[in-house]
């Protein structure tokens, strides 16, 4: 009964709230009489049934459909700019062109925005955290979203499908089981304080055994007044668990673990420890511990590996960087002839029998001050930190209504009407009538709210109800920049109707851009998707370069972080767009400094570093090791991948997808192995299907030949590279003679360069506008969920014109996006 009621309620709400989008345009007569004949006369020869250049086929287009919006935008752009039909082919008359362009514009506007979409996975998870006040990653089990132009915010891909709805149903069920109203907590809080322990801190945990906690490798060193010292692990050392917590009944629900920590080391040269916290086999945290810190983890047991002894809790400090300490010999595990001193795994060694005390030992410790565990955690709701005064909450319809009102207000990210609440209240009452408890009836009602469209979807900023539209502006801006629903300030501005004032919009966007959450919520996902940084970074041992990567995981992360932090810094400092391409600085930490050959940079945090004049890489994202390394895969097709990536993300000139019938170019196969990269590319272009794109991509890709597979600078390349295995690590080893790196190439409009420096200068000079336009299109898509259409492109061009004199300051350019009609009226 209750399930049926729930589904009926949900279907009713869903059907009344879901946006309906018109599928086809309005003026089919003009299409049939004018546009279709024009397509057949001027376009079909190259984009028809026989030939589909650029993979486009116009003979099957039967009007202006929503799904074809991008196609028509492209046709409009190419016609209006005179790019098509190409030179030498019959051209449209001025009158034909004018009428076709007018028809496209009219149809596009008639079709409406189509930007209403559901929350993507990140946003959905964040909205659930916001409404519950919990830090649980509820959306962990939801599969990643489909993408539009590489971005997970595209409305086309974020529509309801039966599988996504059923997954959300399951997730929301868990969410409401994580909160309670009148019920008592299901398990007690277990806590151990270690600050004042004199010795054998592990003994403090003994009482936990009676509570079912399985104790494993607990800290044995006490430092009275500070806490228990946890010894660091080294790369390849296996992790140990502190203890195992018995799983909640049915292996469902939450476990909460809290640590109070600090770091300790008597030697200043020793790097800070990196703390890894794993719960149930899943890494929940990895951070450099520089001082006192309180850490809290709320985890869903359903997302974890659970053994018969329960959920494992692993707390492991790691040293992820080699170091030396004056007065100590360094251990060197290198083998004769391999990994000479200066590379590889090394650390100070000492006689543990002589130097027993931690203050004598040159290694970093994490101090564990206290540990707290709640084996079965159900959070009281509303959370204390909200400071909400609802008066006394008891088992009464009034209390239920107050709680429901608060839940809905938070969930819908806008004021909720009485009419909207009525359905849910009736559902609650029905459940109570069926004998459900206060808590359970309210949980199911809350779940119904979470399954309704206003929670799961972002409203249109052009919604006919102005209140909803204004709150949609606040929601969209907040989700984009800080990854969560709007805060009180935004909601107040939306409620007052001031949110659309240009000065308010700008100030709010500026405030959110300065919010610490922006880095993880906007910079990281946007840059990752813009620059395709989900690709793995290849790090391989290079015996000739005397580099090994026992510390690879930390380095790989640092390599990615360099690009995120660099773009973040450009936005924070409102730097000109040119610095995306070229600058005299980068973001560096100790690990990257070692990789790039810089000295005197300590600590794992990234900071702005002025590049040495003799550093041939120079600044700009194309010089980042993470970018150049991810575009290599065991050296396979560097030139092509790097060329294609640059065309797509820097030159705003994305290549077509490779034709299906062309085999992949394997540079290790047969005679290809003996070719220089340039000969290899020339061979590949012998196939005319390949040549279409490669004639443009290959000459760009040669610009990056100075970057080796790990993204470091090299002046020479080897005749051959072979894949080898060493100590179970893959090595990409150069063999044979060396030769100067060949970096001669050409940009798409014919500009020739001889080296990387000339390439960057040319791109900055001749292609900056292209790059900025490409970036603005991505900002627009990310903000609105739509690929920019004709009107959006006009607004982008207007923003560019307004900021060209100042060199396209990036923060200003981004702030301007929130003032566009594309953002505010769709």
């Amino acid at each position: 009964m209750s399930k049926t009621g729930f589904i009926t309620l949900w279907l009713t709400l869903f059907s009344t709230c879901a946006a309906s989008a018109a599928e086809t345009g309005v003026d089919t007569k003009t299409f049939e009489e004018l546009v279709q004949p024009v397509l057949h006369k001027y376009c079909i020869d190259c984009h028809g049934p026989d030939v589909q250049e650029a993979r486009l086929r116009y003979d099957q287009v039967d009007g202006f459909r929503l799904s074809d919006r991008h196609l028509w935008t492209m046709i409009h752009q190419q016609l209006s700019q005179g790019e098509m039909p190409p030179e030498g082919e019959p051209q449209l008359s001025a009158e034909e062109k004018k009428r076709v362009l007018a028809w496209i514009e009219k149809e596009q506007r008639a079709l409406g925005a189509g930007s209403t979409r559901r929350l993507n996975r990140r946003e959905f998870g964040s909205a659930l955290q916001d409404v519950t006040g919990l830090k649980v990653d509820f959306a962990y089990t939801i599969p990643g979203d489909s993408k539009v132009n590489g971005f997970d915010t595209g409305a086309e891909a974020l529509q309801d499908a039966s599988d996504s709805v059923s997954q959300m149903m399951e997730v929301t069920s868990r969410v409401v089981q994580s909160i309670r109203f009148l019920e008592p907590p299901p398990s007690e809080v277990l806590k151990v304080d270690l600050v004042n322990v004199e010795k054998d801190p592990y003994r403090q945990f003994e009482p936990w055994k009676e509570k079912g906690i399985h104790l494993e490798k607990l800290p044995r060193i006490a430092k009275p007044g500070l806490g228990a010292l946890v010894e660091p692990k080294w790369p390849k050392d296996r992790s140990d668990n502190l203890f195992r917590v018995p799983a909640p009944p049915d292996r469902q629900g939450l476990v909460r673990v809290k640590f109070s920590v600090a770091s300790y080391c008597a030697f200043p040269e020793v790097p800070n420890p990196i703390l890894w916290v794993k719960i149930g086999g899943r890494v929940y945290d990895r951070r450099e511990i520089t001082g006192p810190l309180d850490l809290e983890y709320e985890v869903q047991v359903e997302d974890l590996l659970v053994s018969s002894k329960g959920v494992s809790v692993s707390f492991v400090p790691r040293v992820e960087l080699p170091y030396r300490v004056k007065g100590f010999e360094n251990e060197d595990r290198s083998k004769p002839g391999q990994f000479p001193d200066g590379a590889g795994l090394f650390r100070p060694v000492w006689d543990k029998r002589l130097l027993k005390n931690p203050e004598q030992q040159p290694r970093p410790f994490v101090v564990l001050k206290s540990v707290q565990v709640e084996p079965h955690f159900v959070a009281p709701w509303p959370p204390k930190q909200w400071n909400v005064d609802l008066g006394e909450i008891n088992d009464s319809p009034q209390s239920a209504e107050k709680l429901l009102a608060l839940w809905m207000d938070r969930a819908y990210r806008r004021p909720v009407t009485v009419a909207e609440r009525k359905h849910f209240l009736a559902f609650y009452k029905q459940l109570r009538g069926d004998g459900w408890t206060f808590d359970n009836a309210l949980r199911s009602t809350f779940q119904a709210v979470l399954m309704s469209t206003p929670f799961r979807h972002l409203d249109s900023t052009a919604h006919e109800d102005q209140v909803i539209a204004d709150h949609a502006v606040a929601s969209r801006m907040s989700f984009m920049l800080v990854g969560s629903p709007p805060d009180a300030e935004l909601r107040e501005l939306a409620a007052s109707g001031d949110i659309r004032r240009p000065d308010v919009l700008r100030a709010q966007a500026d405030r959110l851009l300065s919010d610490p959450r922006c880095y993880h919520a906007f910079i990281q996902p946007f840059v990752t998707q813009w620059l395709e940084m989900e690709q793995p970074i290849t790090l391989v041992d290079d015996r000739r370069g005397k580099a090994s990567y026992h510390f690879r995981r930390y380095l790989q992360d640092s390599m990615r972080e360099e690009t995120y932090a660099y773009i973040n810094r450009l936005l924070v400092d409102n730097r000109p767009a040119r610095e995306i391409i070229s600058s005299d600085w980068t973001m560096m930490n100790d690990t990257l400094a070692r990789h790039y050959g810089y000295e005197g940079i300590e600590g794992g945090h990234l900071r702005k570093v002025k590049l040495r004049k003799d550093d041939k890489r120079g600044g700009g994202i194309m010089s980042h090791a993470g970018i150049q390394s991810m575009l290599c895969w065991m050296g396979d097709n560097w030139v092509i991948y790097r060329g294609a990536w640059t065309a797509r993300h820097i030159l705003n000139d994305p290549p077509q997808l490779p034709p299906l019938e062309v085999p992949e170019l394997d540079p290790t196969a047969g005679d290809l192995k003996y070719m220089t990269p340039r000969e290899l590319m020339a061979y590949h272009r012998e196939d005319k299907n390949c040549a279409v794109c490669h004639v443009k991509l290959d000459p760009i890709g040669f610009a990056f030949q100075n970057f080796d597979i790990s993204g470091r600078w090299r002046d020479v390349e080897h005749e051959f590279y072979i894949v080898d295995e060493l100590d179970s690590n893959v090595a990409w080893r150069g063999t044979g003679k060396t030769r100067p790196v060949d970096t001669v190439g050409m940009l798409p409009r014919g500009e020739e360069f001889r080296n990387y420096d000339e390439f960057k200068s040319l791109v900055a000079k001749e292609y900056q506008d292209d790059m900025v336009q490409g970036l603005m299109k991505n900002f627009m898509l990310y903000a609105t969920g739509r690929k920019p259409d004709i009107d959006d492109m006009a607004e982008i061009n207007e923003i560019m014109e307004d900021h060209a004199d100042q060199g396209y300051p990036l923060r200003e350019m981004l702030l301007a996006v929130f003032q566009t009609k594309a953002f505010l009226e769709h």
């Binding site: 394997d666 196969a669 047969g670 005679d671 290809l672 192995k673 003996y674 061979y683």
Partner: protein, 236 residues
């Protein structure tokens, strides 16, 4: 050095003349190379090569080092569009330990033979007569010392030259003779006194190229790896 070069030129001229003269009265020599030239880093006499194929001890030596399709040598001769002709050569090929390898002697059409060998399928392109020695996964056949021919991308074994127990017993200075019938697209191969008739061309067509290819042969796997006395002739 100059004397040596003069000698080389004279030798080449002599060989080329031999190509167009009749030999022994009954056979017309289309091409003949006895490799009786000074040791050199190239095979010479218009043999094109990829990889380390050299002239040593009056034979063409393949300095094998576990490479794909290398070393290999190729030479063209007057095209044979119809009728019959005979190819013979001496093979000095002693295997010591190699398990996965192949050696190909091929006759084919230069207009269809690809410039590069990249994948295994390229080995058959433009090739009519396709004889193969080898073993292991490269020819999909065990034991490692098998002899056969290839057609349609499949290796067809004729007999085992040597197995792992008797590795050094057979192929030293063996003479291989191939009687080719261009019209029917078949050939017979005689090797160590045994003849295998009516073997089909891999691809039917004119023949104007002879090619020898080593594939995956390691330096330690062979104590001898050379060929000598290549003769192509036809009935007058």
């Amino acid at each position: 050095m100059i004397v040596s070069r003069l000698f080389m030129v004279a030798a080449c001229v002599g060989i080329c003349m031999a190509c167009s003269l009749s030999h022994g009265g009954e056979k017309q020599i289309i091409f003949h190379d006895d490799f009786n030239r000074d040791d050199a880093n190239a095979v010479g006499n218009e043999w094109s090569s990829r990889g380390a194929a050299v002239l040593k001890d009056n034979a063409a030596l393949f300095k094998v080092k576990e490479e794909e399709f290398r070393p290999r040598i190729k030479r063209t001769f007057p095209v044979q569009k119809q009728g019959k002709f005979t190819v013979s050569f001496k093979m000095d090929w002693l295997r010591t330990s190699e398990g996965t390898w192949s050696f190909h002697m091929q006759l084919g059409d230069s207009t269809k033979i690809p410039r590069l060998l990249i994948y295994n399928r390229d080995l058959a392109k433009g090739i009519g007569v396709n004889l193969v020695w080898g073993g292991g996964e490269l020819v999909n056949f065990q034991p490692a010392g098998s002899f056969g021919y290839s057609v349609g991308g499949k290796f067809k074994p004729l007999f085992v030259i040597n197995d792992m127990k008797n590795q050094q017993t057979v192929v030293e200075k063996a003479v291989v003779t191939i009687d080719v019938d261009v019209d029917s697209g078949t050939y017979a191969v005689t090797f160590n006194g045994k003849t295998y008739p009516d073997l089909p061309f891999d691809n039917k067509g004119p023949i104007d190229t002879i090619r020898f290819i080593t594939n995956g042969c390691s330096a330690t796997g062979f104590s001898k790896s050379s060929i000598d006395d290549v003769v192509i002739s036809k009935d007058k």
